[in-house]
């Protein structure tokens, strides 16, 4: 039986719906092992991640087999010690269409320019650029925007970013298609870069600090 904390502290969930009870039980299982409380709002953003998969990852014309149209959640907890802070790592993955693809339907003017630029570079055989992919992902995370075009949708990704900004030393990475968004408040980084080759699906990764100063009374 494995005993090392980097192995035994992993948890794994999968599903197709927004299942709050599964998330709550996962967080509870960690809390039973430690007196360090996770930051407020963690349940909220994890649920939003699952809802995004439910609503956007697998459109009707998806080629993904039906039994694979789901989310996977991996989480690992490191207890803080006197010498190092603890961490809670949580990753939510889907093998779906990607955040940007669901937003391509309604491009704004400058996004069309980026698209033309990417296609021109490809047509001239100068390599590949993914300006549009990066732009769309950054905008989806930093401003409410939904593929539905409905003004009251698209709130989940900005909520995830706000949550990490509140933790000061937390980190958020979103890798989707040919772009990677990073939010590292401690380094004042909030940026999106191209990644090539494109990533299959969407991976959202939080690293949440658990400091001893957060010990629950």
């Amino acid at each position: 039986m494995p005993t090392h904390e980097s192995v035994v502290n992993w948890r794994y969930l999968t599903g197709t719906h927004a299942e709050g009870e599964k998330i709550a039980n996962l967080l509870k299982s960690y809390q039973e092992q430690t007196s360090v409380a996770p930051p407020e709002g963690l349940y909220d953003v994890l649920n939003e991640a699952l809802i995004n998969v439910r609503h956007h990852a697998y459109p009707k014309d998806t080629l993904v087999p039906e039994d694979m149209r789901r989310w996977w959640l991996f989480a690992r907890f490191n207890e803080p010690t006197d010498s190092r802070p603890g961490n809670l790592y949580i990753a939510v993955y889907d093998i779906g269409t990607g955040i940007q693809n669901s937003l391509r339907v309604k491009l704004q003017a400058d996004e069309i320019v980026s698209k033309v630029k990417d296609e021109l570079v490809k047509w001239l055989r100068l390599g590949r650029t993914y300006t549009l992919e990066s732009l769309l992902l950054k905008r989806a995370v930093e401003h409410p925007r939904s593929s539905t075009g409905l003004p009251f949708r698209g709130l989940g990704l900005p909520e995830m970013r706000d949550f990490v900004l509140q933790t000061n030393t937390g980190r958020l990475y979103i890798i989707s298609g040919a772009a990677q968004y990073s939010c590292l408040p401690a380094d004042n980084v909030s940026d999106c870069i191209s990644c090539n080759p494109a990533f299959p699906g969407t991976l959202i990764l939080w690293s949440i600090p658990l400091e001893r100063k957060e010990l629950a009374s």
Partner: protein
């Protein structure tokens, strides 16, 4: 005056999550249609207590409360007079009224 106190944790679920009914077992649409909107029609004042749950994502809160304007036809003035939010996390109350205000604008 008739009043109604709704605890989401005990009257609905400690695990609210999702926007629409097919998102999962306890979404915002179900809370609004089955509990909140009927209470606002039947009682003069309604207090919604958010404490005791595991939390709320923006999709749940927007659909439950923004939907009162968008889907149920309540007015902002009526909600401000008759709907009260109780929460130990002040940010939830601010977000709820923000979603209601946004729903009015759209």
């Amino acid at each position: 005056m008739t009043t109604k106190h709704i605890s989401i944790a005990t009257d609905f679920s400690p695990y609210p999550s999702g926007r629409y009914r097919d998102d999962g077992p306890f979404p915002g649409q179900a809370f609004r249609q089955d509990i909140l909107a009927p209470a606002l029609r039947d009682f003069e004042e309604v207090t919604v207590d958010l404490d005791g749950t595991n939390g709320f994502g923006s999709s749940f809160l927007e659909e439950a409360f923004g939907g009162l304007i968008r889907e149920e036809g309540f007015s902002l003035d009526m909600l401000k007079r008759r709907l009260h939010i109780k929460s130990s996390r002040q940010s939830y109350e601010m977000r709820i009224w923000g979603y209601i205000d946004e729903a009015v604008l759209h």
